[in-house]
């Protein structure tokens, strides 16, 4: 590491990053519970997500985060299961966001690698893995709770309740910028874009913001966003909503908005690698951009209600290994799911999927990364397998993502749940419409 550091040149940023990473590792070893570590006991965890292709931005950074998490846990003595320390090992399989490869990967991870838990991005790939999950009883997690239905009893969404948390961003926008009254929205026409469209429509309606036009749905194969943006801003809207567009779309859409002279408010679910957008546009243009995924060096994450272990140190380690501009929405998410799984396995005294699931859901609450949360979802998904609580609203200020506030998703849902169900139904996104 040091040889590489001096070979590549010792910059201030690298020095600070490495210093923080070393401090983080030391702190991890000191803070996390120490147990007698038995190197021969290993618990394997499967990572079945896209690592290549257009959706890799929501898989690869998550694996990178998990590797840091695993090293820290192993350095601190591993996971205590039934009184014995187990080292954790991640086994990854690139499903290329293809259901047939998800099936092959699930088979390999369960029947050959003998993993005890599999983390997925979900979406198009879950139906490919579902028959394997049903047959083997393996516990899976997804980042997309729209995969949940009453018959997905071994599938949980313990971190990201996409896209429901998007309501918090719109609610915050309406409270803080009440002068903004009209909005337009664009999204890719796919399984990820549509439930998010329904959610944003509900959130805008609840906030009293008028949609100027129907959401503009573009084909995922779109590469030229100039006409999309031209049409989008033709009515001079106060707000442009980018829904849950993939990073490959958010970047060119922002560039087009910049080039076509849009000066209004932008809100988006994600802004992965936003530093690159700032570099392609300008700091002034991106000022005030609202999204939902914080950088973990944010001081607001040091609050004692936050359950993610040492977020600032985690971010520093991640940035020093892969670069701060490689930090994305999922960099921390799979690691936070592992925090929950670890707690469940230690509580159950077993790594077996059914025992861990029962321990995780005991009492109906769980320690979500952003605070205590409820196992919830029967209304929308037909099963209470989504862990829902607070979610941060993030705004770009001076070229840097900053948490403005945490807001409660259940509180919004208690007030406006019927609106959400109405729009979800209109887009065929309720669980009983998805078969």
């Amino acid at each position: 590491m040091f040889a590489k550091m001096f070979k590549d040149g010792l910059t201030r940023r690298r020095l600070l990053g490495s210093g923080a990473a070393i401090a983080g590792s030391a702190a991890a070893a000191a803070i996390l519970p120490r147990t007698a570590f038995a190197a021969d006991k290993v618990v394997k965890i499967g990572f079945l997500a896209p690592l290549t292709g257009p959706v890799a931005a929501w898989g690869k950074p998550g694996l990178d985060g998990c590797l840091i998490w695993g090293e820290w846990i192993n350095a601190a003595g591993g996971i205590n299961i039934g009184g014995e320390a187990h080292a954790v090992e991640f086994v990854a399989y690139d499903n290329e966001y293809d259901p047939s490869k998800a099936r092959t990967g699930a088979t390999k991870l369960i029947r050959e690698d003998e993993v005890k838990f599999i983390m997925m991005l979900g979406g198009d790939t879950w139906p490919g893995a579902q028959p394997v999950a049903d047959r083997t009883g393996m516990l899976f997690s997804t980042l997309l709770p729209s995969d949940l239905s009453p018959d997905t009893t071994t599938l949980i969404a313990p971190c990201e309740v996409h896209p429901i948390y998007n309501v918090t961003g719109v609610e915050w926008l309406a409270d803080n910028m009440p002068e903004l009254k009209t909005a337009v929205m664009c999204a890719q026409d796919d399984a990820l874009g549509l439930p998010s469209v329904a959610t944003y429509l509900a959130a805008f309606e609840a906030a009293g913001i008028e949609m100027q036009d129907d959401p503009l749905l573009f084909d995922p194969a779109t590469t030229d966003f100039a006409p999309v943006v031209t049409r989008l801003i033709s009515g001079n809207p106060d707000i442009v909503c980018l829904d849950t567009c993939y990073a490959d779309y958010v970047h060119p859409i922002c560039e087009q908005l910049f080039q076509q002279g849009y000066g209004g408010q932008i809100i988006s679910c994600t802004a992965d690698f936003y530093q690159q957008i700032v570099a392609k546009t300008s700091e002034e243009f991106m000022e005030g951009f609202i999204f939902q995924f914080p950088d973990f060096d944010d001081p607001a994450l040091n609050d004692e209600s936050i359950n993610f272990q040492m977020p600032n140190e985690f971010y520093a380690e991640y940035a020093s290994r892969y670069g701060a501009d490689q930090w994305g929405a999922v960099s921390w998410e799979y690691a936070s799911i592992m925090d929950l799984w670890k707690a469940g396995a230690e509580k159950a005294g077993s790594a077996e999927p059914d025992a861990v699931l029962a321990a995780m859901k005991e009492g109906g609450t769980g320690l979500h990364a952003f605070g205590e949360a409820d196992w919830w979802g029967e209304d929308l998904f037909g099963i209470d397998n989504a862990l829902v609580g607070n979610w941060p609203i993030v705004v770009i200020e001076g070229g840097k993502a900053t948490i403005k506030e945490f807001r409660s998703i259940p509180e919004w849902y208690a007030k406006h749940g019927e609106l959400l169900k109405k729009h979800m139904s209109a887009y065929g996104q309720m669980w009983d419409q998805r078969a």
């Binding site: 690592l51 290549t52 292709g53 690869k60 990854a92 399989y93 690139d94 966001y97 293809d98 259901p99 047939s100 099936r103 092959t104 990967g105 088979t107 390999k108 029947r111 050959e112 198009d124 139906p127 490919g128 579902q130 028959p131 047959r135 026409d189 796919d190 399984a191 874009g193 549509l194 084909d219 995922p220 194969a221 065929g428 998805r434 078969a435």
Partner: protein
Amino acid sequence: MHSRVTNLAAFLGFGAILLALPHTLSFSQQEILVFLTINVLVVASYRLLTLTGEWSLGHVVIMGVGAYASALLSKRLGIYVPASMLLGAVTAAMVALALSFPLFRMKGFYFLIGSFAAGEIIRLLWKRFREPFGGPKGIKKIDPMPDFDIGIYAFDFFEPISYYYFALAVVGVSLWVMWRIERSPVGLTFHAVHWQDKLAEASGVNVRAYRTLAFVLASGFAGLSGALLAHYIGTINPNSFDVEQMVFVLTWTIVGGTATFYGPILGCVVLTILNEIVLREAGFEQMRPLIYGLILILSVLFMPKGLESLVRGALSWRNAGKKKVGETEATE
């Protein structure tokens, strides 16, 4: 007589290897073998289309037509899965017949672009109409092939070995039919349409009818492969049949070569093993697209006639060796 016995022995030996093959593989490799078997039918059917000289960019979408039709027929109308697979193939062939009217007003590059546009229209229809196609999410929980027992073997079609045997039988019969078509006067006319279309036309051959026939037959087999895929993985969506998948089919075909029946199949087998097994096992999982692209460039540069040229070279070298031995013996 001696040659026939040798061929029969080689055929039986190859069949025995194919039957024993899944038992030598790991679980995930068995899964890959199922998809490989289905893809063999896709590339072989694609070659049938290229016999008349036309290259399509809509072949994978036509495969999807078979998949969607079979899935909907079994799921909505309760049609027995093997029957719905055949009906899926027929639907794909019928859709190809309908498309042939506008498409075969074009040739060469224009046909290529036209087929891409036609394919995209079909894909967009699947996305636009949630009823009955399921929209962007596609169709889930497609009925699986029903399990059955033949006494010596119980077929559980969740298990890749069972589905491999079923797919192998279907693909084997399909390949035999395609082989017979190519060797028949119809197949020879396909070649004539490709290489000497003006001469063929002057000889009274209805060139457009033969191009249409090749397109419809190839599409029927592609539809059958789509149906096989749909009832195995249990889910399909418009992205499963997008241009990226088509690029894979083109790559297998180009790297394998199209001069022989086995060329594209060889390309499909070699590249699938390389991409899905060798590179993954070697730890190059995330570099696979890069390496795959490099192989395509190198093969086009250094092996323009495809992998089949290596086989043909080896066979002619062996035959030359035999001839030389025979001449030496005759001299002595």
